[in-house]
């Protein structure tokens, strides 16, 4: 009987509410100890800029980066956000290994790649427009009691609704 329970737990994982409390606690602790809340897409923006610079572009002349002159003075490996994002991927990897659930999962169809690429581009662009993704703007913004967080929340729901509709059409 206990074995059944253990098996179920191992396969199903922790309950959502536990994850919620832990994510929240970690975010708060991160904010308290480093002065900046959890953010993902800002880091990705910087990564993109560094890569672009490496292949010959000059993003440092763009307005956004002119406002942040310190950024290109040092390598992305010295930027704290880099390690937060890398840590996230690594943590998922570790957790999968712990349950022996790590597996290279190939995609079923080429069509999905298109959806993923398009989805990623939309997310990246949208996150820049609203100066944050769901972690930075939705969670971070609302938790910081900033009005922009709520605006983001309402409209991300709209977007998700549209996206769900699109998924249904694609699927059917």
């Amino acid at each position: 009987m206990l074995n059944q329970m253990q098996k179920k737990n191992r396969i199903l994982g922790w309950p959502y509410w536990l994850g919620a409390l832990l994510l929240s606690g970690l975010n708060i602790a991160l904010f308290a100890s480093t002065g900046s809340p959890w953010s993902i897409t800002t880091t990705i923006t910087y990564w993109g800029a560094y890569i672009f610079q490496t292949i010959g572009g000059s993003p440092e002349s763009w307005l956004f980066f002119l406002e942040r002159p310190m950024l290109f003075k040092s390598s992305p490996l010295l930027y704290h956000g880099t390690w937060l994002n890398l840590g996230l991927m690594y943590g998922a990897l570790l957790s999968s290994l712990f349950s022996s659930q790590l597996r290279v999962r190939k995609t079923r169809s080429r069509k999905m790649w298109l959806g993923a690429l398009l989805g990623g581009i939309l997310m990246g662009y949208g996150a820049r427009l609203s100066l944050g993704c769901n972690i930075g703007a939705l969670i971070g913004g609302i938790a910081s009691m900033s009005f922009h967080g709520w605006v983001f929340g309402v409209f991300v729901a709209v977007g998700a609704y549209l996206g769900s509709k699109i998924m249904l059409h694609l699927y059917q």
């Binding site: 832990l22 480093t34 996150a127 699109i166």
Partner: protein, 222 residues
């Protein structure tokens, strides 16, 4: 059914040691980097273990009337608000600038959010869960990640175009507008309201399912 499971515990131990090594190496460069690394790992572990996904909080609700993640998201919002408010109030008492994610709200926020919402449902994960799935081994999310890089870059390129029109305002900090007690009350009232609405809709649909009613479409309108 025969189990073809190979234990990956040894890999786990090796990777854990590597993580600690990286952490200590980073600590020598700067405390901030090491902190972020370990926090990142913790976040990744939690997201994977609890199968969390913010995209799912919206998508599963709209497509399947499944509000489990939605409720969890509201819980995240509520508890994080409390913690952040404490940190912010502490700064306020000391006369320091208020820390946190404070940005102006405008048309750009709304437009960006819609794009983000569509994108996260199409790709099958929000920003954080995409990274986590990458860590789990889903190759698909390398494409998502590439898209994120491209999209962010183009978005930043366009920043000079839409900034003057849309972003040049002050952030609206609710406690500055309403006072701290009122702002917190309003936020929590909204959390409670959304929780209640979402929950009651899910309950409604469960009773429909149990009675075996035939629904035309799995997609519904609020």
């Amino acid at each position: 059914m025969p189990m073809k499971n190979k234990s990956q515990s040894m890999f786990f131990v090796i990777m854990l040691l590597i993580a600690l090594l990286i952490g200590f190496q980073l600590a020598r460069t700067g405390r901030l980097l090491a902190l972020n690394w370990f926090f990142g790992i913790a976040l990744g572990v939690v997201i994977h273990r609890s199968r969390f996904c913010f995209a799912g909080a919206f998508r599963d609700f709209f497509l399947f009337r499944d509000a489990a993640l939605t409720r969890a998201m509201i819980l995240v919002l509520a508890t994080t608000t409390l913690g952040f408010a404490a940190i912010q109030f502490h700064a306020y008492l000391q006369g320091a600038p208020i820390p946190g994610k404070l940005y102006p709200a405008g048309l750009n926020t709304a437009a960006g959010a819609v794009l983000f919402g569509v994108g996260m449902v199409i790709t099958g994960g929000c920003a954080c869960s995409s990274l986590a799935r990458l860590g789990e081994g889903f190759l698909l999310y390398t494409i998502t990640f590439t898209g994120l890089l491209i999209g962010s870059l183009v978005g930043v390129f366009h920043y000079s175009f839409w900034k003057p029109i849309l972003v040049d305002a002050d952030p609206i900090f609710l406690p500055a507008l309403l006072g701290w007690p009122a702002a917190l009350t309003v936020q929590f009232a909204l959390f409670g309201l959304i929780y209640y609405l979402v929950q009651s809709y899910e309950q409604q649909s469960i009773s429909l399912f149990r009675r075996g009613s035939r629904c035309r479409n799995s997609f519904w309108m609020f």
